[in-house]
């Protein structure tokens, strides 16, 4: 498991009070983890802080799953 995935999972578990077993690569924030649109805004802010990056709103709109977040962050860090 990548280090980014682990850090993302920790934030998601913490912010959404989610069952760790459910926070998989494919888990959808809204459909699987009971998040609403404001929860996702907060999650994206937490990712920005954790990884010291900026995630513009139009990119954030496409982050729907844990995997989406990990991929986006990895690309951003590699750039």
């Amino acid at each position: 498991m990548s280090e980014v995935l682990e850090r993302v999972r920790k934030i998601v578990i913490d912010h959404l009070d989610a069952d760790p077993d459910k926070v998989t690569d494919k888990a959808s924030f809204i459909d699987d983890l009971e998040a609403d649109s404001l929860d996702i805004v907060e999650l994206v802010m937490a990712f920005e802080e954790e990884f010291d990056i900026e995630i513009p709103d139009d990119s954030a709109e496409h982050i729907l799953t844990v995997g989406d977040a990990v991929n986006y962050i990895q690309e951003k860090l590699a750039a």
Partner: protein, 427 residues
């Protein structure tokens, strides 16, 4: 046909404990909910005492093994708790208890549409507003939580309670400083009388024991500063040594119900909301007029609304904040009671729980309903040396068992806003 309104459920989170019965028991025993402030470091604060809610984590004099300690995790998950200021948390807990007590959990469309919520607050999410302002300054606008606004707005207490219980009738919130709780119950009763709803979940909540709240009321010269070393003696309405109010926190919520609706489903009835009166001082932003005219007119309006003679009121739960205004209110009550002043009974339960600001009127209305149920007037603790000569029994130190058919609760707020509620026994 005139629609009558009765109280069928009670819920409390108070400085004497989480729950109606534990708070009432301790109130009648003469216990004080005051202590040194544990919510934050009070170095440099002129006032270091408050009536905090006893918490399971040890704050406010509570603990995991201490009966009546408030456990937020039993009300909301960690995730949900981050989305509400404490005043909303307390309101949700009190509303849960009141609805359970009333055994009213509407499921049909019709029942849900006919049940509304009116829970107010004096100040709302003051602590979160202050913390977020600091974050804005330190980190800039992009770091502000999306939950900042919905966690601090006053009407989100009503909003959260409605979402939690599926209550789709009128959804409203009162903001009249320290008269909020009384206005909320009075206005909600009127919504039932006018046919807008059959059931209303009504009350007030406050969570202002935060640095900016305490500092703000110190600056108004409103808080007690002379009893930092003896917190349980700090709130002493009508006593010669009183020198300001002691801040309390928590929530009081009642279930109000149209009488026939309550009877038809066999609900337990605590009391009837007989009368409600309102007035404005048009005098000063924080002080009542010397003649107590505003409070007097609210009481008269309530008696007129109830259609009763003031002399029939057995017990008055006064606003009595432990400030210089105690005497002004007492004179107004004497004038209001007329001949009954010779044998009248008045107490201030703020002596035990402090001043819950926007929650006060609702909490005190609950105590009034319980006074009718148990036929006992709760005491004014710490009243060692009365500052006033009066024929009225101010119920010093010890609860007073007595015949109680009709009670009045007074609540007055900054800005010169006054409310009086009259409750009566239902046979």
């Amino acid at each position: 046909m005139v629609r009558r309104v009765v109280i069928t459920g009670l819920g409390l989170v108070s400085p004497l404990g989480a729950g109606v019965e534990i708070s009432w028991k301790r109130l009648l025993e003469g216990q004080s909910g005051a202590g040194p402030i544990t919510a934050f470091d009070t170095t440099d604060y002129a006032c270091t005492v408050a009536c905090e809610i006893p918490m399971v984590d040890g704050r406010g004099g509570g603990g995991p093994d201490i009966e009546g300690s408030f456990d937020p995790s039993k009300v909301l998950s960690n995730k949900e708790r981050r989305k509400v200021d404490d005043f909303i948390l307390y309101a949700i807990a009190a509303a849960d208890e009141a609805l359970d007590d009333a055994n009213w959990h509407p499921e049909s469309d019709d029942d849900q549409f006919r049940t509304g919520v009116m829970i107010g607050s004096g100040i709302g999410g003051l602590g979160i507003i202050a913390d977020t302002a600091l974050e804005l300054k330190e980190k800039g606008p992009k770091r502000i939580s999306p939950f900042f606004i919905p966690s601090s707005l006053i009407n989100l207490a009503s909003g959260q309670v409605s979402i939690r219980h599926g209550l789709k009738g009128p959804n409203h919130a009162v903001v009249t400083a320290c008269a909020t709780g009384a206005h909320a119950i009075g206005d909600a009763a009127r919504l039932i009388k006018s046919g807008d709803a059959d059931v209303m979940v009504a009350g007030g909540a406050e969570s202002a024991i935060v640095p900016i709240g305490i500092a703000g009321f110190i600056a108004c010269r409103a808080l007690c500063t002379a009893f930092n070393d003896e917190p349980t003696k700090a709130s002493r309405p009508y006593d010669k040594d009183r020198d300001g109010f002691v801040m309390g926190e928590g929530a009081g919520v009642v279930v109000l119900e149209e009488y026939e609706h309550a009877k038809a489903r066999g609900a337990k009835i605590y009391a009837e909301v007989l009368g409600y009166g309102l007035s404005g001082d048009a005098y000063h932003i924080t002080a009542p007029s010397e003649d107590g005219d505003g409070g007097y007119r609210a009481m008269i309006a309530a008696a007129k609304n109830a259609g009763i003679d003031p002399a029939t009121i057995d017990y008055v739960n006064s606003h009595g904040t432990s400030t210089m205004a105690d005497g002004i209110e007492l004179k107004a009550i004497e004038k209001f009671l007329g001949e009954r002043a010779a044998t009248g009974t008045v107490s201030s339960t703020k002596s035990a729980i402090g001043h819950l600001l926007g929650g006060a009127g609702a909490v005190e209305a609950i105590f009034c309903a319980l006074a009718i149920r148990d036929q006992v007037a709760p005491p004014t603790i710490n009243l060692d040396n009365p500052a006033y000569e009066t024929t009225i029994d101010l119920v010093p130190h010890k609860a007073k068992p007595m015949k109680i058919d009709t009670v009045m609760s007074n609540s007055f707020g900054f800005g010169g806003t006054n409310a009086a509620l009259i409750l009566g026994k239902v046979d």
